[in-house]
Symmetry: C2
Subunit: 354 residues, 2 copies
Amino acid sequence: MIKAVDWQEGVLWIIDQTLLPHRVERRALTDYRGVAEAIRSMRVRGAPAIGVAAAFGVVLGAREILEKGEDFPQKFEEVLSTLAKTRPTAVNLFWALDRMRRVYEQSEHRTPKEMLRALEATAVRMLEEDIQANRAMGQYGQQLLQDGWTVLTHCNTGSLATVSYGTALGVIRAAREAGKEIKVIADETRPRLQGARLTAWECLEEGIPCTVIADGAAASLMRQGRIQAAIVGADRIARNGDVANKIGTYMVALACQAHQIPFYVAAPLSTVDLSLASGEEIPIEERPPEEITHIEGVRIAPEGVKVYNPAFDVTPAELVTAIITERGIAYPPYEKSLPSLFEQANKRFDRVPW
Amino acid sequence: MIKAVDWQEGVLWIIDQTLLPHRVERRALTDYRGVAEAIRSMRVRGAPAIGVAAAFGVVLGAREILEKGEDFPQKFEEVLSTLAKTRPTAVNLFWALDRMRRVYEQSEHRTPKEMLRALEATAVRMLEEDIQANRAMGQYGQQLLQDGWTVLTHCNTGSLATVSYGTALGVIRAAREAGKEIKVIADETRPRLQGARLTAWECLEEGIPCTVIADGAAASLMRQGRIQAAIVGADRIARNGDVANKIGTYMVALACQAHQIPFYVAAPLSTVDLSLASGEEIPIEERPPEEITHIEGVRIAPEGVKVYNPAFDVTPAELVTAIITERGIAYPPYEKSLPSLFEQANKRFDRVPW
């Protein structure tokens, strides 16, 4: 399986996703600014992958401060803030940075070297947990998919969006590993074309039958009875179950509702932001107009045209059939089911796992 | 105003829309095969423009047969069939070819030269009628749009899709000419990007405020209250009011329904196919996979991936608030309102105008 994010002897390795599917190029990141740039420019993307990459960014930043003998508390804040400012919507980023900050805050009695080791150990644990969480999500989620189904997915939620296995695409993988014949329909997912570029590539690599469609074709296929379920990832889920995810997700959910097709969301609990009452409070990133006016550097829209380019939208909880997490499946009302999954998690680990 | 289709001294002039918005190039077509190629490759596109271009294709074909002294009835069928085989969904094409065939069939008493003149006169009349029909649609339709509204449109339905004024974009033009401050949101309209390339260009040329969005962003904007109506064109409308239009239209209509936003269709009566009971009978063109895997010649999806690329979808009548035609506005139930517009038309002209 592809490893989108990896840590080897003090170096963060990512697959540069802006070059896919044309070239599979690994990039070594040895500096927190490079990590921030990679997140901002979407060389590494997908909420869980962003979280883990940012955690290693903190390790690289802390190492640099110590090597240069700079003022730790002040510079460490700078590292955290540089990484935090890359992308506003995916909460996994802030969750990862908070967790790293806590390790630092609990390190007063440690030598600088010990603290660095603790930071690194935490980031490595997050990487491993991500794979485990994906596998668990896969096991829970695959029970919702029936043999022979064709499943629509939006954006990329596979190995490339996580450390390795995937969230929504991981559930599809798990269903296939369980012997079910599941086919994938991949929305191309404008503007960044993660479906056409990344999901299609992952599916081809692994022999998962996959058909790419224009985003506008999804409802039409549902009406023809050619799609039995939709499953997507998430960048942030509010306490009430509202889901922020890649722009276009809300239209998929509306189409599912109109055709009485289940609409599933697969995301680790690190994506759930219990501090937000509803999706209205989720900040939505707007990205550069060039993502719309140009494709692969080629201009398509006329010069001077106005563009609105939100990277995400919010799907209201009432359109979400179920939310698949690594601790089980949450059903409506999410106000109750989501917090209860957190409580289970706390009990099992005897403290919050992060 | 731009003239997308024009006839000058025996030559059919079109703007090559595959080159827009980068280059405005007129192309002279002097041969019916060239007209067929231009329709197939979407150099000329938009249901009404296709109809008129095909009519002139028939004129060019008939002229060639006479010049070469070929067997007229047989060769004429070949001309009609070559033009008919270009694109299956827009009924205006078949409507135009039928009308031209009827002129030929009524020409037994005419000399070849007279028949050619009659064919040319009919095609010229269709061109003029198209402009008049657009203007009339604009006048009827603009009453539905309120001052200050932002109106979503999908694909291109402006001058470029017709002879000159436009259907859905024509209605927006008419509202602005009537002094209403209407803003346009243009879906980019994958795969062929008629919104980003053509609608945006037309709007810029004429100073109509226009913002381009990814197709997936429409519902999100509606939820934010930033869109007050959607208006689209049509390629074929069945007797019951089901509307075949550019792929993605159905998702726009579903989003309108979910947000209680009016969804209008603007199309001349030549787009209404009373012979079809419902949209299920409308043939939907599938176009080459390269429209999805490549953009402007640049590959975006991995080699070997499967693609499904329907050019159109069908929006069921129950999602259509009103259909704006050159003879007035039809409201549900369309089974009654559409035929009655045809009857009015017949009375006014004292025979079917085509």
